[in-house]
């Protein structure tokens, strides 16, 4: 695959003179037509180095060739938003949160690497998304980690989960970023394909926004950070772009090992060079390493670029130029710097003990030219590498089984009869792995570092202060429900959005913008492609109605073992803003006598529900109905109630329904609650339905009138369902569960499985 430096060097000149030389395009994951297109673009066969660059950059992972045509909707249908400063297409979107602050956030996947090597896969996933945020000029301030694993009691989950969690903690804690929210979902469909998504958020002043581009002839290209080694060659991006087959050793990439300490130095060093105005453009090195950074920087700038690849500091001196171009060594960045500022730039790097090397410069040509010991090995139009990759209109078709699945209505399932059975099922849900407390995991994450964490897990949304004087802050939540999306991918994507949106609103924050990670099976399967098309359409449509633009995200395809794809799993992150974080609404019921109100309408909706799963092992029917106008109204009510101090606690209702939410708020606050179903609702539906656009709030008696008046005035359905009281969860006339028993049931599950 590669030419070692001692062997013959495949120069541009040599390539032009040897059109018929055999090239390993298929091994590098290229299709015949793609290889032919490269030859057409170049007017000759590519050199080995060029082939390496095109192959990684045109991989599914880097080029989005299957998803591009669908992702366009996020731009085309984007709602107008005054808050959007930088939209989709940059390394991460940027949102105006007021008072001169801008926030950038993005979610990414590291699914395949985390299956191969859970600790390092997850750790480097965090590292990668953090560098995206630094590259925008922002200081990273927090991480969220939506995770999905196979069955909780499967032996392989015991290997993957502890490793992934330790990796996220090991990297994030050492880097000094609080990990303050996320998800943990277990489902057999993720057995061979765990999903490790990571979201990072950063903050900066408006004037500090930086975009990746290389302009200004004569400006220097500086590579800084870790030395380049053999990591990920062969390669992680290619691996993430094909059906994963762990049995094929040739597809096992050299695992990338993260160095969070190096990344911490990179953060401080990068922020310092930004602050001194030393950079023209900057780009992180992630998938496809230098191939990506040089071609993207060059194609975003005005001129061309020349790089002397032999100047790249190496960890392994035997690497060939092709390997250097493809290496995915972590903790590296690339900056474009005016010649007069290079010295100062290098000084700051030295202060932070960061290796920095001038490897090239911006030229007045239009080509990206790469040299190896003086000989030219790459001469390409950078756009053709970075942006003009293949675009596929992959066929898609609603799968034949979809109708049957939807027809399998959960109405046929036996419902609990009587108080004892209700009680038993409440406890079964509260202790089921998906509903159980996640503290065994989240206690391994530092939630205090940086000193601005106002709310963290298990709260609905994470809340961070960003200005100590004014109290300005943001809220974030991520959600996704593969079961819903399997039943109806269009609705499923919308349900992910509305849940995250509602979670953010429950804290009192105004939802502003969206990032998404689309985890799906193989795009070569028309059924999967249909799920993907439906999900993107659903998300784009709903974002338009809610006025929350998608600012960026990530697509992870080929999450599939053999013929079996994972459930379609769009994961959505929502960012909101609070003018004063002192006003945030927590989830805990902390005082006796608070009145409990159920906001929203409850219907008998059990398709894809936690109840159907836990009690009956059933997945069928239709997911809960989406009502975007109701979601928007509910958010307005929650935000107004928080701002005006009308409520003491709020918790959104989602999987597990009302009783799960109330149980969580009781356990968190150390208080019991007495519940009575509102008129017309049977106890079962009251407790377990997963109807959307609902939340439970705790209202002090002194505020009751003001609160109910507001709901009435805005047509927000609100029903008084009980009171915070005693030390048990009671459904009046049906059952009582002592708080201690509830807590014990909720908290013992994960330690018992993984402790």
């Amino acid at each position: 695959m590669s030419t070692s430096p001692t062997r013959h060097l495949d120069t541009v000149k040599h390539a032009a003179g040897s059109p018929d030389a055999a090239q390993p395009w298929a091994e590098l994951g290229l299709k015949r037509e793609e290889y032919d297109r490269i030859r057409e673009v170049l007017g000759r066969r590519p050199t080995g180095a060029e082939l390496a660059m095109y192959s990684v950059m045109w991989s599914e992972h880097c080029s989005y060739k299957s998803s591009k045509v669908h992702l366009r909707q996020f731009g085309d249908k984007a709602p107008h938003s005054d808050a959007l400063l930088v939209g989709i297409g940059e390394q991460a979107g940027v949102v105006d949160v007021g008072q001169g602050y801008a926030v950038t956030f993005k979610i990414e996947s590291h699914n395949h690497p985390s299956y191969v090597e859970p600790y390092q896969g997850a750790a480097t996933g965090v590292g990668g998304i953090v560098r995206d945020i630094i590259a925008m000029g922002a200081r990273p301030i927090a991480v969220l980690d939506p995770l999905r694993f196979g069955a909780a009691d499967h032996p392989d989950t015991r290997r993957v989960l502890p490793g992934v969690v330790a990796g996220i903690g090991g990297y994030g804690n050492c880097l000094g970023l609080p990990t303050i929210g996320g998800e943990v979902v277990f489902d057999p469909c993720y057995q061979g394909n765990p999903l490790v998504n990571a979201l990072c958020v950063g903050v900066m002043r408006h004037e500090d926004i930086h975009l990746a581009k290389a302009s200004g002839v004569g400006n220097k290209v500086i590579l800084y950070g870790a030395r380049t080694g053999g990591d990920g060659i062969g390669g992680a991006s290619i691996l993430a772009s094909e059906t994963f087959d762990a049995a094929k050793p040739s597809k096992r990439p050299a695992v990338q090992v993260g160095d969070p300490f190096q990344e911490k130095l990179l953060i401080e060093c990068t922020l310092e060079v930004f602050a001194e105005g030393l950079v023209v453009g900057i780009q992180d090195l992630g998938a496809a390493g230098l191939s990506c950074a040089t071609s993207e920087l060059a194609s975003a700038g005005s001129g061309g670029m020349r790089v002397d690849l032999d100047r790249v500091p190496l960890r392994d001196p035997s690497l060939s130029p092709e390997e250097i171009l493809m290496s995915e060594s972590q903790e590296r960045m690339c900056a474009v710097v005016e010649p007069g500022k290079v010295e100062r730039f290098l000084e700051i790097c030295a202060k932070w003990d960061v290796i920095a090397t001038v490897i090239g410069e911006v030229t007045d040509g239009e080509r990206l030219e790469i040299f190896w010991h003086g000989e030219q090995i790459v001469d390409v139009p950078p756009r053709t590498v970075a942006h003009d990759g293949p675009v596929y209109e992959r066929p898609f078709a609603r799968p034949g089984w979809q109708d049957e699945l939807q027809a399998d209505d959960p109405a046929r399932l036996a419902r609990p009869s009587g108080g004892a059975e209700l009680r038993a099922q409440v406890l079964r849900l509260a202790g089921s792995p998906n509903q159980a407390a996640k503290s065994w995991i989240t206690d391994q994450y530092d939630r205090y570092v940086l000193g601005n964490t106002v709310l963290a897990q298990p709260e609905d949304g994470a809340v961070l202060r960003i200005d100590e004087e004014t109290g300005l802050g943001i809220a974030l939540a991520t959600d996704g429900n593969g079961r819903y999306a399997k039943l109806d991918p269009y609705a499923g994507a919308q349900l992910a959005l509305v849940e995250a949106y509602r979670n953010v609103a429950a804290t009192g924050a105004r939802p502003l913008a969206v990032t998404d990670c689309l985890n799906f099976g193989s795009p070569e399967d028309p059924a999967v492609m249909w799920q993907f098309a439906e999900a993107t359409r659903g998300l784009a449509d709903a974002c338009r109605v809610l006025g929350t633009p998608v600012t960026g995200g990530n697509v992870s395809l080929y999450n599939q073992t053999g013929e079996a794809a994972i459930h379609p799993t769009p994961v959505v992150g929502v960012l909101g803003v609070l003018d004063d974080v002192a006003r945030r609404t927590p989830m805990a019921f902390r005082e006796e006598g608070l009145l409990l109100y159920l906001l929203g309408e409850t219907r008998a909706e059990f398709g894809g529900s936690a109840w159907a799963d836990v009690v009956h092992g059933h997945l069928g029917g239709l997911p809960p109905r989406v009502d975007l106008e109701r979601e928007r109204l509910l958010a307005e009510i929650l935000v107004a109630a928080s701002r005006d101090g009308m409520i003491d606690a709020a918790h959104d209702l989602s999987d597990g329904g009302l009783v799960q939410a109330v149980a969580e708020s009781c356990v968190r606050g150390g208080r019991g609650a007495r519940l009575v179903p509102p008129d017309g609702l049977d106890p079962f539906t009251f407790l377990f339905s997963e109807s959307t656009a609902r939340a439970v709030v705790a209202v002090p008696r002194s505020e009751e009138l003001r609160f109910t008046d507001m709901c009435a005035a805005r047509n927000q359905p609100a029903a008084r369902i009980g009171v915070v009281d005693g030390d048990a969860l009671e459904l009046q006339g049906h059952f009582t569960i002592p708080l201690a028993e509830l807590r014990e049931t909720h908290e013992r599950t994960l330690p018992a499985l993984f402790g």
């Binding site: 000094g176 391994q444 205090y448 000193g451 601005n452």
Partner: protein, 224 residues
């Protein structure tokens, strides 16, 4: 004249800005100190903050201990400069032999972040005079290598001399010998502990404001 409290930043320090914030909230002036400078900029006291200095790669605190700033701190601590080591700072102080014992991997082998109940056993040190002996406080704990160990003789000596400053209550989160969360040197000017008082100085962001007393204690001592 305001009291100046230095906070050292090593490569990999994480809670340095939090320690500075706590110093400010207590009414003193925080002064940033850089690991590479021997000069302590005329501060009246020094805090070694939490974090992962040098990635904690060899042993927590082992590499930081050899930094230029530590040369001066070790020297001045011996002649009475108040020094507080929090978490990684505590590890640095043990590695520097300013405090006895060592911190090892948590017995359960996981990083743990929790709101930890402590008893203040000694309220006579430079950093604890704002508390009453026996007072119970809750402040965050977050570490992977917080198990305090020392040989039995050293432990007995610490107990006998009242140099165990904090003890874990309810849960021993890391297998520390005799539930020790923090210790002092014989003179009472150097104190180290694993939990993080600087994360318990504001209602909004901490589990309590119980940590503020560390910073007011040193202020009181320096002013008097």
């Amino acid at each position: 004249m305001t009291t100046r409290v230095g906070v050292v930043t090593f490569p990999g320090s994480l809670d340095d800005r939090d320690a500075q914030r706590a110093v400010k909230l207590a009414g003193a002036e925080p002064v940033a100190l850089w690991h590479g400078d021997k000069d302590l900029r005329q501060v009246d006291a020094v805090i070694l903050p939490g974090g992962f200095s040098y990635g904690d790669y060899l042993r927590a605190g082992a590499i930081a201990r050899f930094s230029p700033v530590m040369e001066t701190i070790i020297e001045q601590a011996r002649s009475g400069l108040p020094v507080l080591g929090i978490c990684n700072g505590f590890q640095v102080l043990c590695e520097s032999h300013l405090l006895p014992g060592a911190l090892t991997r948590n017995d359960h082998l996981h990083f743990v972040c929790r709101d930890q109940r402590l008893r203040v056993e000694n309220a006579a040190t430079a950093w604890t005079s704002a508390y009453a002996a026996g007072q119970e406080i809750t402040i965050p704990l977050k570490n992977g290598e917080g198990g305090y160990v020392a040989d039995a003789r050293t432990l007995d000596e610490l107990e006998a001399e009242g140099r165990v400053v904090f003890r874990y209550l309810e849960v021993n989160p890391n297998g520390s010998r005799r539930d020790i969360a923090g210790v002092t040197n014989a003179a009472g000017n150097v104190v180290g502990l694993m939990p993080h008082p600087e994360h318990a100085v504001e209602e909004l962001t901490g589990p309590s404001t119980d940590g503020l007393g560390f910073f007011t204690s040193v202020l009181k001592k320096l002013v008097s």
